[in-house]
Symmetry: C2
Subunit: 332 residues, 2 copies
């Protein structure tokens, strides 16, 4: 591999001039710059990014740490982040924490060690180790969930969205909606549960703990939770499920039991997904502006990186949209 000094020798200049010419920094005689570029091309020179990063004490790389790569919400977020990052000259490295605290910690550590320019993360809640990043003065933006450490965040009105979804279930004529939400330590899960409870109380029903299940946000757990709810002495007649991944599990469980949403039971899920309108029946959802969430987080991060002066954390909260298809409807 050709190094900068090889290019310098070939072009008959110093290494510093090569660096300046290739990075368009400072002032270089146009003719010289051209000679340098030619020499670099002939040698197939590629700057060693590791050396550059060490010297510059910074990187043009972001880490995007998401909770679950199979959740379409996060893949859409990733698109939003990437588009803006590219526009601003950053590369983004995607890390899949898989709702697992150890993996998340590992990626956070890699991000710190590799001195990334910034981190966007949907934190697992059990005390995500964000404070280390702040100590290392690496800007962090959280999405979807918040943490104790005060950093920028982009959220949606989960509680309001969940409430609207559950109200819609009541309005459609269902009487005993259940709620399948995420882990107790995830505030997104908690807010969606609260929204559900808001609607239950508004409908002047008594919230029953037997109609609530906490899971790890994954397919299998939702499948089990649905079966468990169906096995209750007084089973629910409708379901509010707190994300798209779990909707798959719930749908499967209902199918297993021969129960058809939109006919035998009601079903609404948080998050839209590419397949949501194609399942049987088409799924009613609370859609999040996932792409915008990613794009917004990316913008906040860029600003944070550019300003050297510390500044109060900024919080952006976006709205959800109820999309009524068929799974929530009640015949007759």
């Amino acid at each position: 591999m050709a190094k900068i000094i090889d290019v310098a020798n070939r072009a008959g200049v110093s290494a510093a001039t090569v660096s300046r010419a290739l990075n368009n920094v400072g002032t270089v005689d146009p003719a010289l710059a051209e000679r340098v570029r030619a020499a670099a091309a002939e040698l197939g020179y590629r700057p060693n990014g590791v050396a550059r990063n060490l010297r510059r004490q910074r990187t043009d790389v972001w880490a995007l740490i998401i909770s679950d790569i199979e959740n379409p919400f996060f893949t859409a977020v990733a698109r939003g982040v990437e588009d803006i990052a590219r526009e601003r000259g950053f590369s983004v490295l995607l890390c899949n924490a898989d709702e697992d605290k150890h993996k998340e910690d590992r990626y956070l550590q890699v991000a710190e060690q590799e001195q990334v320019a910034g981190v966007i993360i949907s934190p697992n809640m059990r005390g995500s180790d964000i404070s280390r990043m702040v100590q290392a003065s690496i800007p962090v933006v959280t999405i979807d969930r918040t943490v104790r450490t005060p950093v920028d965040s982009v959220m949606v009105h989960s509680r309001a969205g969940a409430r609207e979804a559950t109200e819609h279930l009541f309005a459609s004529g269902w009487r005993r909606p259940a709620c399948i939400t995420g882990p107790e330590y995830a505030d997104t899960a908690e807010q969606r549960l609260q929204g559900y409870l808001d609607a239950v109380k508004d409908a002047r029903r008594r919230p029953a703990t037997s109609l609530i299940r906490h899971t790890n946000f994954q397919v299998e757990a939702a499948h089990a939770a649905t079966l468990s709810l169906l096995g209750e002495r007084r089973p629910p007649d409708a379901f509010f499920v707190a994300n798209a991944t779990m909707a798959l599990g719930a749908l499967q469980a209902l199918t297993d039991r021969g129960l058809k949403p939109g006919r035998d039971v009601g079903l609404v899920a948080f998050d839209d997904a590419p397949w949501a309108r194609l399942v049987d029946p088409p799924l009613t959802v609370v859609a999040q502006p996932a792409y915008d969430i990613g794009a917004t987080a990316a913008r906040l991060l860029t600003e944070r990186i550019q300003r050297s002066a510390p500044q109060r954390p900024r919080h952006v909260t976006l709205s959800t949209e109820l999309i009524v298809r068929q799974s929530s409807l009640r015949p007759g």
Copy 2:
């Protein structure tokens, strides 16, 4: 941020000893090692990975460059890669090339500059710039698709799988199956088309170009292709679609036209997906061992990284499995 010399001072030793103690390398007096660890902990010391990488001239990070993050095939592959990587002490950074050559090139460049230990990639075919990696002596394993540059690869028997799928369509009583495949420059797409053609010829039909569509492997393109096929003078009565993402588009188009698979038309897709059994009707698929593909690629890469001696490229080809659900069946 504490540096190694700070730890050294606090522990009353040299930087070299700190390095040795923390990396468990060479021989360090146990008592000293303990003192070093204590000092490091007190200072919250984290080694600067960039500096370490520069000195060591290597990294413990892989780049996994996939074609489309929304395709469940690739997310499953990613799981397989990550599990093995973690087991062997590597971290994997996921890059979404989005079926876009520019993005792919960019990530390849970042991977080279950041001196990753290895690359696993599902290459976009229009001359992926793999040769640069080889020049930089960074090991590469391709998955799903191959390139000209001779490197290790993990593939599936695409042609056989496609043939089996199409034969199944004929066996179910359909007479004019169409094929929606990927770009002409992608050999996976080409092989799936060939498998389709094999079956057509076996059935003693004449392959009609009017029944074949090339797309970019994405939802929208498949949607359009399906509508276009339906608009032919002699439209097909069945569809073989070359990946899961496109199945979504085809399904949508058929639904738009009021055509129900498993009743009005036949439909088989390459790739299984979490939602495949939940759509209406459940989708018949040619399942790829996606997780195993990832895991196998990861194993090949590890071996390649460990052996210093060059060695002929290795190619592993795994088998597919036809899973008959309902979308391919013909009533009566």
